[in-house]
């Protein structure tokens, strides 16, 4: 919603002019196989653009995002799985680049807390009704 200014920054950021080279071959071109394209698209929507960091690379017009899209489409066309590509990118840039958090020693609360909330909620409801009934 307010990633509007991400676009603004990408295009008028003071320190970085934009390059004048053409976009990568598959930056704005879909794969011919619709199923492969769907896999690539699904992956791209979950990766963060590193230039305008409030968008996914699927939504970003930054040249690095275009290069990444092209790289991903080519790899998927060559048979790599989306998860493998995601792991590869995390290996280069760390967990920051993936909008899908992995379950690690640093992120386990993200997955445990919802369970705790569900249990807590159930307890509250039961406690309430046991006293009331």
């Amino acid at each position: 919603m307010r990633w509007l200014v991400a676009l603004l920054l990408a295009l008028s950021a003071p320190a970085f002019a934009n390059d004048t080279m053409p976009p990568a071959p598959y930056a704005y071109r879909q794969l011919d196989d619709p199923q492969l394209e769907a896999k690539a698209q699904a992956l791209m929507e979950t990766l963060r653009c590193l230039t305008c960091q409030s968008q996914s690379i699927a939504d970003s017009d930054a040249s690095m995002a275009g290069d990444m899209r092209s790289e991903i489409r080519e790899r998927i066309a060559a048979g790599e799985t989306p998860e493998h590509i995601r792991q590869w990118l995390i290996g280069r840039y760390g967990d920051y680049i993936s909008y899908q958090p992995r379950v690690t020693s640093a992120t386990w609360p993200l997955f445990v807390v919802p369970v705790l909330l569900a249990v807590l909620g159930a307890l509250i409801v039961l406690h309430r009704f046991r006293r009331r009934a």
Binding site: L8, L11, D95, P101
Partner: protein, 648 residues
């Protein structure tokens, strides 16, 4: 002159808020009756003065008074008038002044209108409102002065961010702020009730229309914001779980729970503690949201100038206001008397589950939004986005929707399952039927599949409470509930279908080429330059025909502004009853063709249509409550007058 006048008004308004606070505090004591009588007028005059200050700001923007720093930084003499005015709140200081003005206005309104509660509680409420307001006045006057002058006015202003030069987004802050800041009333009422130990159904009845009003605006603001992002940003997305989006969703979740809880307290005198807690939490979420957005500590690029000093000021306000309210709650919660009892299978029971589920979703959104901040404190950077929020929130929302379907059918206090067996079977049947059809014929993925099925369940269930009742004599609030719940189903349907069935085509097209996307054939007939008031653009002319039918013209543009220099993409949309064709024209390729992005998005408009329905339902309920209330007051007065006559 005008700017100084505005600043003076602001100072006066702040002093009145201080007076209001002191008078409310001292007026509670013995012998303080004279002081107590000052509180309400002080609130009203404060509202007038603050409103005046805001009008002055609008004035200097409308006249493009470049000697005012804010105007020089955010406006331009060539901008269209409507955007000159909207520029007043399209920046940090101006929007802060808008925030404070709405707070003052809300306080003034309750001071003027509300006489149903014991005066002690009203004084405490207005005192709380003044206390919170004072903090924000201080912030404005000492750290974010909107009326600061420039010694040497520049020849021209910097201009307004072109992305903000859009009528939808121009209206976005006022709408959203009416919601956020309107919740401050609920906060003040909760604090007032805690201070004077007056948590009663009467209190909830008084609070309810104010919550409804704020909630309606918040619903509209979020819906409109989502639609704006969808058509303006050029990629057809309508929700990204961006921290700034979440900052608007969290108060809405709390306000929705508060709304339902207050209704229970008002009609059944139950859920007292829940209601007070939610009243505190709702506005707390507004404040936390404001902090997150303006402090810049989260990666979500927002236009406001990010300044750690400002962030610290807001954080201090947060700590004092929320911490104070929570501490007050901890101390006084034990004195809230127990309300009426109710059985598990009852409408109150369903609403308890509703409260718990909404609070859980709120907790999850808060956790996911703040988690990157937590890990960063330990030196690690992670990202939490849609792949986390979508499934995890669905786990709590989907069961809640089932309760939403059945809840309104239940009686208050105690019900038997036998009584609702027939409608429950009907609803379940509808859901299962849609599930099977969608799964077997359309092969949907899990989340959209469940979403569509639940939409069917809720759509049918929304109108079941109307069964067997006289439609003409149905109270407006019941109509409101049905329409609002139906709106939820409509929005959910739109979200699920769009997620599952969007067709996308990215291609480089030469003039004369035809591209197929979904059931559409789109031909690029020309690309031509066009000019606007403060921009030039490359415009594509597209002829689109649906399944071989009549041709429609679409003109997407790639627009270049010059003050400030920026390129935006203006998408062209074609709306049918069953979806939207979304077209974007990009740059030229090296071989003279043009980048085209085309989407066919089935039923995507239902998302915002559903949101509007939800707001409409709220509005009907509000009108129903207020007119019912007025009618009751007139009747009471008539009866009292008649008694007086008889007694004479």
């Amino acid at each position: 002159m005008i700017a100084e006048f505005g600043l003076a008004s602001l100072w006066l308004a702040a002093s009145l808020a201080a007076l209001q606070l002191v008078a409310a505090w001292l007026g509670q004591r013995e012998g303080g009756e004279t002081l107590a009588r000052v509180v309400r007028p002080a609130a009203v005059v404060q509202a007038l003065l603050c409103g005046l200050a805001f009008l002055m700001l609008l004035w200097v923007f409308a006249r493009t008074d470049l000697s005012v720093l804010l105007v020089a930084e955010n406006s331009h003499s060539e901008k269209p008038m409507i955007f000159k005015i909207a520029g007043a709140w399209g920046n940090h200081e101006g929007s802060m002044l808008l925030w404070v003005s709405i707070m003052a206005l809300a306080g003034g309104l309750i001071a003027l209108i509300e006489h149903r509660l014991p005066e002690r509680t009203m004084l405490a409420t207005l005192g709380a409102q003044a206390f919170v307001g004072l903090g924000f006045y201080a912030f404005l006057l000492f750290a974010s002065n909107p009326f600061a002058r420039l010694a040497v006015p520049p020849a021209e202003g910097n201009g307004l961010n072109p992305l903000l030069q859009d009528i939808g987004l121009a209206m976005h802050p006022p709408t959203l702020y009416m919601g956020y800041v309107g919740l401050s009333i609920a906060f003040s009422f909760a604090v007032g009730a805690l201070l004077t130990r007056n948590v009663t159904p009467e209190f909830a009845k008084v609070m309810r229309p104010w919550i409804l009003g704020a909630w309606i605006f918040l619903t509209l603001g979020i819906t409109a914001g989502s639609y704006w992002a969808y058509y303006e940003l050029g990629w057809g997305g309508w929700w990204f779980w961006d921290p700034v989006e979440n900052a608007s969703l969290m108060p809405w979740l709390a306000a929705t729970a508060l709304l339902h809880s207050a209704s229970v307290l008002a009609s059944r005198d139950a859920l007292r503690t829940w209601t007070i807690m939610l009243g505190v939490i709702a506005f707390s979420m507004s404040m936390i949201g404001t902090f997150l957005v303006r402090s810049g500590i989260l990666t979500s690029v927002h236009a406001f100038a990010v300044d750690p000093t400002r962030g610290s000021f807001i954080l201090a306000l947060l700590a004092i206001n929320i911490g104070g309210a929570l501490a007050l709650f901890a101390v006084r919660a034990g004195t809230i008397a127990e309300g009426e009892r109710f059985a598990p299978l009852s409408r109150e029971g369903a609403l308890v589950i509703n409260n718990v589920a909404l609070s859980a979703v709120l907790g999850i959104v808060l956790l996911g939004t703040l988690y990157p901040l937590i890990t960063e404190a330990f030196g690690l950077r992670v990202s939490v986005g849609p792949p986390y929020f979508n499934p995890v929130s669905a786990v709590f929302v989907f069961p809640m929707l089932l309760v939403l379907a059945v809840g309104p059918l239940l009686r208050w206090r105690r019900d038997r399952f036998v009584r609702i067996k027939a409608p429950v079977v009907a609803i379940a049947g509808a859901g299962v039927a849609v599930l099977l059809v969608m799964w077997l014929i359309a092969g949907l993925a899990l989340l959209p599949l469940l979403g569509v099925s639940l939409a069917a369940v809720v759509a049918v269930a929304a109108f079941l409470p109307l069964r067997g009742r006289s439609l003409r004599r149905l109270p407006l609030p019941v109509w409101g509930m049905a329409i609002a719940h139906f709106g939820v189903a409509v929005a959910l349907f739109g979200m699920s279908v769009d997620t599952a069935f969007t067709a996308e085509k990215l291609t480089a097209a030469g003039v004369g080429d035809t591209i197929a996307v979904g059931p559409w054939q789109v031909r690029l007939s020309a690309v031509e330059p066009v000019a606007g008031p403060n921009w030039t653009a490359l415009q594509g002319r597209l002829s689109a025909s649906y399944e071989g039918g009549a041709e429609h013209l679409l003109t997407p543009q790639s627009r270049t502004f010059w003050a400030p220099p920026q390129t935006t993409s203006e998408s062209a949309l074609l709306t049918r009853w069953n979806g939207q064709l979304y077209t974007v024209v990009g740059g030229a390729t090296e071989d003279g063709r043009w980048q085209l992005r085309l989407w066919w998005k089935p039923f995507v408009t239902f998302i915002w249509f559903g949101g509007a329905l939800i707001a409409l339902g709220g509005l009907l309920a509000l009108i129903g409550r207020v007119t019912g209330d007025v009618r009751r007051r007139i009747a009471t007065r008539k009866i009292a007058a008649r008694h007086a006559e008889v007694a004479r």
